[in-house]
């Protein structure tokens, strides 16, 4: 993309930032310089210290040492509002939104257009429409944010920033929840913002994005800067090995599975947000569900897991009708489930690692006649932590102290340990670093090869294509396409995801997928 503008004035400069947590040196004398008009990628494995560094820059954490300069002036941020006043804006990895408020209210919050002290709702709505249109971030201004799918919430976050006219934008893993097409659209936005002279600091795990969208890359490892690269002069391999400290084998191809008996049979399933869906998943097979976030994938999975009332159709697992069975009965009958939202649904962050790992096992392998010995819970946790490479201070530490990647490993480990014939997985590698992604993918493949059925929902097309033996595409609550492993190229899937319908991928596709899959690349 654009070559680095070395001559451009410096927008943000961090010098010698050190941040220590009890037991962890999260940032160790980190230097970072971001020029105006630059998209600067910040990379590193889970727990490398990226979020910490950005929190320091944004005034949420006070550094133990080091200085921050913005536009050539020394600044000390006591709070995010100081940072905002200095022209910084941040999109946090876990959304900071008000679920019960509307999109408009969220966007203008604390920077409201007013009339006589009252919020000028008409002006606010207009502003949101304008911004949305200008940057291609369409979202209904009067919708309640709590009712929006994750993908749209992300847009609201970005609109919030734009509304405030931030000159330097910090985005912590902004594309984790977006489809490639949406990510491309986001990058178009970011690029145009950079062209206006704004700077973007981008925290991400996705090499493809970094290579395509950034000007320079800074790599952190164990809290220290290990590499400063100019994007145009580097490669995926170089960045990956800088992050992990070892050579990484990219673009692995997994062998196809050998499908056996059907394990999950769904016919004509309807539920709120899901219409007339047919799916069959066989033992030894991974079926992937692709789709733009918010097209009923989560709802389908919830209906299958027994968390959403089924209004029509039939679901059977291993030949037994479970259409109206409870979540517990389904689990007992051989279903395990990795949900999309690991903080709000998949774990109890305030509980210990051990307690989180016990869930689901607490009435089966871990308990004897209803008794659950704390010792057994701990032993079980140590085994899983070891087996799935979860990095935790101890199994007694609260799950909230784990980094996102490690929390995900914990979650997947726990569900795989059920050894259930059917596994439902949503977004298994969201926000997870390259090393961990591979680890998780290997686990899923191994699980399949052990003769289990896996239904995988992912917004990551490369992930779907890499893992799935068959791919279904969902659009507006319906399955609009089914493809074999070989037919599922990004172009075809992208069109189907955009609602361009038809197994053949024909049709008049317009709308969302702006150039979906047009630029193929060896994405991770």
């Amino acid at each position: 993309m654009t070559p680095p503008r070395a001559e451009a004035p410096v927008a943000v400069e961090l010098r010698g930032i050190t941040k220590r947590f009890p037991g962890t040196l999260a940032n160790d004398s980190v230097d970072l310089t971001v020029s105006q008009g630059e998209i600067h990628a910040l990379m590193g494995e889970n727990g490398a210290g990226k979020s910490t560094l950005m929190s320091v820059l944004y005034g949420m954490l006070r550094p133990d040492a080091g200085t921050i300069r913005v536009d050539g002036r020394d600044v000390v941020f006591a709070s995010p509002s100081d940072a905002m006043a200095a022209g910084l804006g941040m999109v946090h990895q876990s959304f900071k939104l008000f679920d019960s408020l509307t999109v408009t209210e969220n966007v203008v919050y604390a920077a409201e257009p007013r009339r006589f002290g009252l919020v000028d709702r008409a002006a606010a709505r207009r502003r949101v429409r304008e911004l949305a249109e200008e940057h291609g971030l369409a979202v209904e201004p009067d919708a309640r944010v709590g009712e929006l799918p994750v993908g749209l919430r992300q847009r609201v976050e970005i609109l919030k920033l734009l509304h405030r006219g931030a000159r330097t934008l910090i985005l912590d893993e902004p594309t984790a929840v977006l489809t490639p097409a949406e990510a491309d659209a986001l990058f178009a936005v970011l690029t145009s913002l950079a062209a206006q002279g704004r700077s973007v600091i981008l925290v991400t795990h996705k090499l493809r994005e970094v290579l395509e969208g950034s000007d320079r890359v800074t790599v952190l490892r164990d809290g220290r800067v290990v590499s400063r690269l100019v994007t145009a002069e580097t490669s995926a391999g170089e960045i990956a090995s800088a992050m992990t400290g070892r050579a990484v084998e990219l673009d692995r191809v997994h062998a196809a599975g050998t499908p056996g008996e059907p394990v999950l049979e769904v016919s004509g399933l309807s539920a709120a947000g899901v219409h007339d869906v047919d799916v069959t998943v066989r033992a030894g097979e991974i079926v992937g569900i692709a789709g733009v976030a918010g097209n009923g994938q989560s709802e389908l999975i919830e209906a299958l897991a027994g968390l959403r009332a089924v209004t029509g159709g039939r679901v059977s697992v291993r030949g037994r009708d479970v259409t109206h069975a409870s979540a517990a009965e389904r689990r007992a009958h051989g279903l395990a489930y990795v949900p999309e939202d690991r903080h709000a649904v998949g774990t109890a962050p305030a509980a210990s690692v051990a307690e989180n790992l016990a869930m689901g096992h607490h009435r089966t392998s871990l308990s004897r006649r209803g008794l659950l010995a704390p010792g057994a819970v701990r032993t079980h946790a140590r085994t899983l932590v070891e087996r799935f490479g979860v990095k935790a201070a101890s199994v007694a530490a609260p799950a909230s102290s784990l980094s996102g990647g490690n929390l995900q490993k914990l979650l997947i480990g726990r569900e795989l340990a059920h050894d259930a014939p059917l596994l439902l997985v949503e977004q298994p590698t969201r926000g997870v670093d390259i090393g961990a992604v591979q680890h998780i993918h290997d686990q899923l493949i191994a699980y399949r090869d052990a003769g289990h059925a896996v239904l995988l929902v992912s917004a990551e097309l490369s992930e779907i294509r890499g893992l799935a033996d068959r791919v279904l595409v969902m659009y507006e609550g319906r399955v609009v396409g089914a493809y074999g492993k070989d037919a599922a190229d990004e172009g075809t899937l992208g069109l189907a995801m955009a609602g361009a319908s038809g197994d053949a991928g024909a049709g008049s596709g317009e709308g969302a997928g702006s150039g979906a899959g047009a630029n193929e690349s060896a994405g991770i």
Partner: protein, 346 residues
């Protein structure tokens, strides 16, 4: 492990707030011309001395019982504000059973206890059903249901079950022998043993069973436990029935102790429900913490009354002192370490 625990306890907010509460209380006492040391000594001897320990244990029985009743659902994040209603229904049902049971006295006592527990449980389940079936939040439904129950019990004591010729709205005295056995001449009854057993059962369930684990996880993140297959409506029902049964037990124990009858208002007037809720909340519903907090409040209540009797502290001050200690406890005042922490994270 133990050493870190002890040092943790010393540095814990509880220690700090009790000390701070005592300090502010001392200033108050000095302000009104009383000697704080004498006053505090009176609280301790009044509550823990040979003359007071009986009253403390008796009060403790009710406080702990209600604290457990409220802690059990609270552990799963459910707040039961209907303790008074469940308590009183337990009491009046036990009283009716005690008056009309054809069984021999000892069996009648057991039957009355069971009936009281069943009544409390049944009524609490009603509140749970309001939440499960009608979507009325438990907090609201339990609180609202409480008042009619108290009125109903009052009506029963005033009319159908009344003692003829008495100036008080109270039931007739139970037949001879229909009483919980007491320890010696004291007011402490077998009720204490029952409540302590309940506490032990709660501790065991919480720490050693899968059910207890599910309750805790529901309290920490209910979506998580639902996701994992814990059925929320059923859990609410179970926990509320246990909660109501415990409240009913306290009511039954209350009427089966001296003066062996149901006296309108005597179960609710001491405010065991609120004291119990306060204890449970302060302890985060943890079993051992709830036990300790309950005992602490019993000491405060009995000792406060004793202080009023034996020193010249006006009665209003006793109430003020208790409230101040609770305020500090609730605010979880910490010693300066917080200031250090504050700088780190915003």
């Amino acid at each position: 492990m133990t050493i870190t625990r002890i040092s943790g306890a010393l540095r814990s907010p509880v220690t700090a707030s009790v000390l701070a509460g005592l300090l502010v209380g001392a200033l108050f006492l000095l302000g009104t011309g009383a000697d704080p040391l004498t006053a505090y000594d009176a609280v301790l001897t009044g509550a823990l001395g040979t003359d007071g320990i009986g009253a403390t244990l008796t009060t403790g029985t009710s406080v702990l019982g209600m604290a457990l009743a409220l802690a059990v659902p609270l552990r799963a994040g459910l707040i039961n504000l209907g303790g008074d209603g469940q308590l009183v229904l337990g009491g009046i049902t036990a009283a009716a059973t005690a008056l009309y049971s054809p069984l021999p006295a000892p069996l009648t006592v057991v039957l009355a206890l069971l009936a009281g527990m069943a009544a409390g449980a049944g009524y609490a389940v009603l509140a749970a059903l309001c939440e499960n079936r009608f979507g009325v939040p438990l907090l609201v439904s339990s609180l609202l249901l409480s008042y009619p129950a108290v009125s109903l019990a009052s009506y029963l004591a005033r009319y159908p079950l009344k003692e003829p010729g008495s100036s008080l709205p109270q039931t007739r005295a139970f037949p001879d022998g229909v009483a919980l056995p007491a320890f010696g001449d004291s007011t402490v009854t077998v009720g204490l043993v029952l409540v302590v057993l309940a506490a032990a059962a709660y501790w065991f369930t919480d720490r050693w069973t899968a059910f207890g684990y599910e309750i805790r996880m529901t309290g920490l993140n209910s979506r998580f436990s639902v996701y994992a297959g814990v059925e929320r409506a059923g859990l609410t029902l179970k926990l509320m029935s246990v909660s109501g049964a415990l409240a009913g037990l306290v009511g039954a124990v209350g009427v089966l102790s001296f003066p062996y009858r149901f006296v309108d208002g005597s179960l609710t007037a001491p405010g065991y429900t609120w004291t119990g809720l306060t204890a449970a909340l302060l302890a985060g519903a943890a079993p051992v913490g709830t036990l300790i907090a309950s005992f602490f409040f019993a000491v405060l209540q009995v000792g406060g009354l004793a202080m009023e009797r034996t020193t010249e502290v006006p009665r209003e001050l006793t109430q003020v002192l208790q409230a101040i200690v609770i305020v500090f406890l609730a605010a979880r005042l910490r010693f300066p370490r917080t200031l250090l922490k504050k700088k780190g994270a915003v």
